[in-house]
Every structure is written in C-alpha cells, then in structure tokens.
C-alpha cells in the first residue's frame, strides 16, 4: 500500500473537484444550448398539442394583401409581366379555378396598388370582381367599391382599405354560407401567388443566406402546417384534396430547409406601447433546394392560372 502525505491528498482532492466542476460546467452549457435553439418542426408539434380544448379553432393564413405587402417590404421590385394577365379571367369557369384566381387576382391587385400602379389596380379589381361574381359572392366587390377605388386612385391608404374590405366581404360571405372549402382555396391561391412573385423576384446573384426576400420565402415554412390544417378541415371536398396535394409537395421541399428558432423569448415595450418580441431564428437553404422550390411553385401556379 502506498502511503500518501496530507499535501498529496489535498492536491488529489483539488484535481478531482476541478475535473467534476469542469464536467458539470460542460453539461450545463450543453443543456442551455439544447434549449436555446429548437427545430421549428418540433415547436410546431408543441404548438398544436392541446388543440381540441377550444370551442372554435381558426387557422389564419396571410391574406393576399398581407402576402403582397411582405413581398414589397422585403425590397422586391414591381414587374407587371409576372402577374396573371387580366384577360385570363374569362377562362375560369369551375369553382376551384375561380376561387384560386380570386386569391391570385387579389394578391396581384394588392401588389399593383402597393407600387402605385393605378391602371393595373383598377384592372385587377375588375378581374377579382369577375371571380367573386362567378362564385356567387353577392356584392363582395360592388360597383360602388370600384368607383371608390377609381376616385381615390392616388390615395394608397384608401385603396388598401377598399381591398381589405372587399376581401373580408368575400371571406365572410363564404363562411356564412358554409362554403369554407372555397374560402380556404381562395386563401391558398393568394398565398401561392405571393410565393410565386417572391421566388421569381429573387435576383440570380442573391446571397441565399442574407437576402431578405429569400428569408421571407423560407419563413413560409412556418405557415405550411397552418395551411394543411385549414385544408384538412375541408378535405371531403375534392377540390381541396387536389390543392392539398400541391401543398404537401411544397412541404416535402421545405422539409429540406433546416430552420431553428430560439425557445427563449423576452419582450420589451417602447414609449409608443409597441411590444417587441425578442427572439432569433436561423435557416440554411442550398442553391439546389431553392431552385427546386422555385420550379415547384412555378409549376403549381402555372397550373392554377391555366
């Protein structure tokens, strides 16, 4: 048996304590790292966990107006050639095509209005009216609204108000008359149009990690489950079933884009009583995946406007 001096014991004890403290320190840091950034799919599951407890559940997609605003605020330019030509309006005769193109034309109308394109705004309002009339949505877009639009064509705030009001008229009419499947298809049409405009407007030379428009496109991953749940509520409708397949195909591509979000959030409120939700998120998109997404969106949108 080797005899140890008290100094050796103290030295050994110190080393042991030091080693343990280092190890537990590492663990603590790992645990913090694990809780700070979480995959958004995991958060998605958390979000919808206790869903059956409420009497009424709403799945809210960005409206065509919000979609167009998001594209514009990301710094995209205006390109009228990308919009669905108004002459196409005469081609749509089924409920599905009219519903999709009501969303598409409302998004194009919003997009044109946000860039102060006066004649295009009037033309797209008329195209949207044709779709709403075709769907039997009485007075959603009245002649009075169109006249008001023409009278205030240089006042963007009034135009935004007219667009939001006419869109609300359409969606509320559809809800009231138990045509929620059609209402969902209208929203998907507007959402796809926004995604189409955004993917087409990303410059070829754009840095995919930093470009704001790309960030907006990637952000749509967060809405996919909301869209699928909204459609799933109406899945007995064959038109919804077809649209659902398109969204599932898009989801398969979005699944290739890893996205993480911070689990911890803090809030602060400024002097104007506006609260900022402080959090962070990261994503990674390769040029191949972006190309695949862009092509798929184009394919779906071409199918919708044909």
């Amino acid at each position: 048996m080797v005899k140890r001096s008290p100094i050796q014991f103290i030295f050994l004890a110190l080393i042991t304590v030091f080693m343990f403290s280092c190890k537990s320190g590492e663990k603590k840091q790992e645990a913090q790292e694990e809780t700070v950034d979480v995959d958004v799919s995991q958060l998605d599951e958390e979000m919808f966990k206790n869903i059956n407890e409420a009497k009424e559940v709403f799945y809210s997609l960005p409206s065509p107006l919000e979609t167009a605003m998001l594209v514009k605020s990301a710094g995209a330019g205006y390109d009228e050639d990308l919009l669905n030509p108004v002459d196409n309006a005469t081609k749509y005769s089924t409920n599905k095509s009219m519903a999709l193109n009501l969303g598409i034309y409302t998004c194009d109308l919003s997009f044109a209005s946000l860039y102060d394109q006066t004649q295009a705004s009037i033309d797209y309002m008329n195209a949207a009216k044709k779709m709403a009339d075709g769907l039997g949505i009485l007075d959603a877009i009245s002649q009075e609204s169109i006249d008001r639009l023409e009278e205030n064509i240089n006042n963007r705030d009034v135009i935004m108000d007219i667009i939001s009001e006419t869109f609300m008229n359409s969606s509320s009419y559809l809800e009231e008359n138990d045509r929620t499947a059609i209402a969902a298809i209208v929203l998907v049409g507007g959402w796809i149009e926004g995604l189409y405009l955004a993917t087409q407007l990303v410059p070829d030379t754009a840095n995919l990690e930093t470009n704001k428009l790309v960030q907006r496109i990637v952000d749509q991953k967060l809405s996919l489950n909301i869209i699928l749940r909204l459609l799933n509520n109406n899945k007995d409708n064959p038109d919804v079933e077809a649209v659902m397949k398109d969204i599932e195909a898009l989801k398969a591509i979005y699944d290739k884009i890893p996205m993480t979000a911070s689990e911890k959030v803090t809030t602060s409120t400024d002097e104007n009583d506006v609260t900022t939700i402080e959090s962070s998120s990261t994503y990674k998109i390769t040029p191949e995946v972006f190309k695949e997404l862009k092509e798929k969106v184009k394919e779906i949108r071409t199918n919708y406007i044909s």
Binding site: E46, F48, F58, E175
Partner: protein, 147 residues
C-alpha cells in the same frame, strides 16, 4: 303526416336562417365595430368571428413576420363580459395577456424573428347561476403597418 312535414320544414328553416342571421350579425359587428379598433393599422382583410357563450374559448393560429408591426384586436358584443385574450408562442411562453392590462381590446407588437403564435380568447363566465349564460359575437382581427 303533412303536419309533421310542415313542422320539420319550419324547424329546419328556423335553424338554417337563424344561424345565418347570427353569422351575418357577426360580420356586421366585425366590420363596423371591431375593425375600427385597428386604426391606424391596415386591416389584413381576413375574417375571424364566431358566436361564443360565457365560459367558452376560441384559439387562432397565425404566423407573424419579422420587422412588421402588427395590431391584434379582440372584441366581444355588448352583452358579453369583457373578453380575455392572451398570446402564446410555440414553446408555450405567454407573451401577453390583456388580463394584466385592464382587458384592453388591442395589443401592438413586432417581432425580431418570424414565428407562429397562438391567440387564446376566452369569454369569462359571470358565475351567476340564476341566469342563463349569455352568447354573442367575438371577433379577432389583425392589422399591420404598410411599408
């Protein structure tokens, strides 16, 4: 037999048109009352309204985007008690509850990173067992600042 059929048609019509009438009232309430709470924000055009009874809850799921300024407005018809609403993130953190702000109808916010949020709306129960619980329209509306 004819009487039974007439009664059946009458009851069916009452339920169909009665429900539609309540829903039409909700649309009017959302458009004429709740939408005004969004000023000076631009209403996004979406419509979310339902008839709720005291003690009932509604939930709404929506993605909000970074660097945008939003306003949520939650309103209930006059016969209902003050409506309670809270905003919860995916990790179940409660970011805001109007219970702490005197049941204010609106909340203005912006986000540093885009995320899905859940709006939980509750019509509190008055707890008066001698009276029938009241039902009325509850609307949830969103506005944003146009950039």
């Amino acid at each position: 037999m004819k009487r039974v059929l007439t009664l059946f048609l009458f009851i069916s019509a009452f339920f169909v048109f009665g429900t539609q009438n309540v829903q039409a009232q909700c649309k009017g309430f959302a458009k004429n009352v709740c939408k005004l709470e969004l000023v000076p924000y631009t209403h996004d055009g979406n419509y979310h309204a339902a008839v709720l009874t005291e003690g009932e809850e509604a939930e709404l799921y929506k993605t909000f985007y970074s660097d945008q300024e939003y306003r949520i407005a939650v309103c209930g018809s006059d016969n209902l008690p003050e409506i309670e609403f809270s905003v919860v993130d995916a990790a179940q953190n409660v970011l805001y509850t109007n219970k702490d702000h005197d049941y204010k109808k609106t909340w203005d916010f912006k986000l540093q990173a885009s995320q899905q949020l859940k709006i939980v709306v509750k019509v509190p129960s008055r707890g008066d067992k001698s009276k029938e619980p009241e039902s009325g329209c509850v609307a949830i509306m969103f506005g944003f600042k146009v950039k």
